[in-house]
């Protein structure tokens, strides 16, 4: 199977309708604390707990969630930077879940990443040209042939031009560039091998708004020109709406809702998605005053001991007693089309507001929740 992945011309005919990447029931757990052969760690962080998703050819899938929800871990599992605990991942029809390093090599060229931190992701002691040229030095040209230093330099300069950097700055160090330019360097490096899937992990979160907009436009243009598929990870829903075809919302290791981008904003089903949307700052004073913001109580629970049932139930304004015990499946709810799925037992109807809703668990629990609700007001 792995030889099929190398063959560039053959695979493109190979079922274009099939998704580029399919993850089914991916679980990733990390043991907590030092483990040695004598002292086995019992506790595990449930970073990703049974995520299934598919990324279609040429689309942008936005993956949204708060810090610690497992979105970056999931991305690294999909890129096979982490081994998964269970579940399977297939790229372009090939199962890569347990592929060896050697077998993964051709896949590595196809899946590349752009990281969040434009400072931490570039080696400060190396010149920009050699940073961008690294993937070419390791993997060789598109056909796998190794490249001469001169060829590489040419290609690197083309790449720099492609991402809007001055190719003459080839010999400079990362410290000579601003945050936005560094992010372009990271992007050029990721594009060097002409990947088909680009995983962007918070690529614009560290940038100023005006620079952020430049970077987003560049990503949109490159997608068209190079027929790229994006997995775009961010915590900023206003950014993700601009660039995504579909959005998946993640909470504590689970995907709680997935829908076409506009549909998610217009027909929000999961209370968590709704809360996330309402927390978005809008740069419009009148709108900001008019809307009622759902301030979620408390913090993200510990992924070491995730809550029972629906993982959002301790913070959900609409929680009912069955949410404590039943873990909902990610399925279309309330006659939604098949591409809109939500993992919620009591999904929101169109026009239904979350503000003012009170959780109704069984008697014992409801007291605790009521107490928490009054808490953040800061009385």
């Amino acid at each position: 199977m792995s030889t099929a992945a190398v063959d560039a011309s053959g695979r493109r005919e190979h079922d274009l309708a099939a998704p580029l990447l399919v993850a089914s029931d991916v679980v990733k757990e990390f043991p907590v604390g030092a483990s040695s052969p004598w002292r086995r760690s019992r506790e595990v962080v449930h970073a990703v707990s049974g995520v299934s998703l598919e990324i279609r050819r040429g689309e942008t899938l936005g993956l949204v969630g708060e810090t610690g929800c497992g979105k970056s871990t999931l991305a690294r599992c999909l890129a096979r930077l982490y081994d998964v605990t269970s579940g399977s991942i297939s790229f372009d029809g090939t199962d890569i879940t347990a592929s060896s390093r050697r077998r993964l090599r051709p896949v590595r060229r196809e899946i590349q990443m752009v990281f969040q931190d434009p400072y931490g992701s570039l080696n400060p002691r190396r010149r920009v040209g050699s940073i961008i040229g690294d993937p070419l030095a390791i993997h060789g040209d598109t056909d796998g042939r190794s490249m001469s230093a001169k060829e590489r330099a040419h290609r690197v300069q083309d790449l720099m031009e492609l991402v809007g950097l001055n190719p003459e700055h080839y010999n400079r160090f990362p410290a000579d560039f601003s945050g936005g330019q560094r992010q372009r360097i990271g992007l050029a490096r990721a594009l060097a091998l002409r990947p088909r899937l680009l995983i962007c992990d918070e690529p614009v979160s560290a940038l100023d708004v005006s620079i952020q907009a430049q970077m987003l436009n560049l990503l949109i243009d490159l997608q068209e020109d190079l027929h790229l598929t994006y997995l775009f990870i961010t915590h900023d829903l206003s950014v993700v709406r601009h660039i995504s075809d579909r959005i998946a919302v993640m909470y504590l290791g689970r995907i709680v809702e997935t829908a076409p981008a506009d549909e998610l904003f217009e027909v929000t089903r999961h209370p968590y998605s709704k809360a996330l949307l309402s927390a978005l700052p809008v740069a419009d004073p009148q709108e900001a005053e008019a809307r009622e913001r759902i301030v979620l109580v408390g913090d993200l629970p510990s992924p070491v001991a995730p809550p029972s049932g629906c993982r959002f139930h301790p913070r959900c304004p609409k929680a009912r007693h069955d949410c404590v015990s039943v873990d909902p499946d990610l399925v279309p709810v309330l006659d939604d089309p098949p591409e809109h799925r939500a993992a919620c037992l009591h999904p929101l109807r169109v026009g239904e507001e979350l503000v003012g809703q009170v959780p109704d668990l069984d008697a014992q629990d409801s007291e605790i929740v009521a107490e928490r609700v009054t808490d953040p007001g800061g009385a």
Partner: protein, 343 residues
């Protein structure tokens, strides 16, 4: 009542490559009990300006004045500054993890802060106050959590603890430097609510330094827009969002994803901010400005626009221009503006 008045502040940092002119003639004023937002991109000098006011920029070349409650903080002695800093002016910084000491409990740090300024208070009373403060900023079970170490707190809780510490001595002014930037949107919403509650209950004036116009749209009374160490525009919140004058303000607002509905390309400001070692002649925004004309090689000053004294803009475009079309038209006509005579 004007609580803090900063006038013609200049701050320069000597470096091997030359002096970095981080702040170049900035003036602003904060009224008691109000919120002033200072908005700008990285390197615009917004943090340096406020840190200088509280004496936190050592080794810098400083000129101008910053009068707080009748006292010029820029000429104050270290001792005088120490009495003001923390007690009369509270501060919250961007990164709540690095602003708390990892080695001491959160409660210990608040108690130490209270006792440093008030020797008379007993340890026990200071601790009681710490618990009250933590409860005030919405930390659940404050009486237990007071003995936790910073690492046992989440990012949002750490920022709440920072707020608790900064308001411990009931300051008249709170300087919040990017207080929500490192936090998730949901937590951000909580922190903004806490700040608003604090202001309502204690009557604290707030200087909110941020690059996030979304946050500003919710909490600011007045907004100062900074670019390349200078103030570009100053206006009340509604005025700034709905009738901005300066092209830089227009560019900032236009580049926000939330202001452009739907999918597709955004409208960024082309180029990047200038080097502050050799700032450009004239208007610093000129190289990136779509409306620049020959006049812009001279440095504009803040002057009233739309005939309002509370709305000022440092731009040569005519003072009554509010729309994009008008800006384009005026550029084509190469008009000179009523800025001609200094106010």
């Amino acid at each position: 009542m004007t609580l803090l008045e900063v006038t013609d502040l200049h701050v320069g940092f000597p470096t091997p490559d030359g002096v970095v002119h981080a702040v170049r003639g900035v003036s602003f004023a904060v009224e008691a009990g109000r919120t002033l937002a200072v908005v700008g991109e990285s390197g615009s000098g917004k943090s340096v300006a406020t840190q200088t006011v509280t004496g936190l920029t050592r080794g810098a070349q400083i000129s101008g004045s910053a009068v707080f409650d009748g006292e010029d903080l820029l000429t104050a002695t270290t001792k005088q500054l120490e009495a003001v800093r923390g007690a009369r002016i509270g501060m919250i910084f961007q990164d709540p993890l690095t602003s708390l000491h990892p080695y001491y409990t959160v409660g210990w740090q608040i108690v130490e802060m209270i006792r440093a300024h008030d020797r008379g208070i007993s340890r026990r009373a200071a601790r009681r106050r710490a618990v009250e403060l933590l409860a005030l900023v919405g930390i659940p079970q404050a009486d237990l959590r007071v003995d936790d170490y910073p690492h046992q707190f989440s990012g949002g809780m750490r920022q709440r603890a920072m707020i608790a510490m900064s308001i411990a001595l009931d300051p008249a002014l709170l300087i919040a430097d990017e207080p929500t930037t490192a936090l998730d949107v949901t937590v951000q919403a909580q922190i903004i609510t806490v700040l608003q509650d604090v202001q309502r209950e204690l009557g604290t004036a707030i200087i909110l330094i941020t690059h996030d116009l979304g946050v500003v749209a919710e909490v600011a009374d007045e907004i100062v827009v900074m670019y390349a160490g200078q103030v570009m525009e100053r206006a009340a919140r509604h005025e700034l969002f709905y009738r901005f004058h300066h092209p830089y303000t227009e560019g900032l607002l236009a580049s926000l994803p939330s202001r452009a509905p739907g999918r597709g390309r955004l409208t960024p400001i082309p180029g990047s901010p200038p080097s502050l070692i050799t700032p450009p002649e004239g208007c610093p925004f000129r190289p990136r400005c779509a409306y620049a004309f020959d006049r812009c090689t001279q440095t504009p000053w803040l002057a009233p626009v739309f005939g309002r004294s509370d709305h000022e803009s440092a731009c040569w475009l005519p003072s009554d221009i509010a729309s994009r079309d008008e800006r384009v038209a005026s550029r084509e006509a190469r008009v000179t503006s009523p800025h001609e005579q200094p106010a």
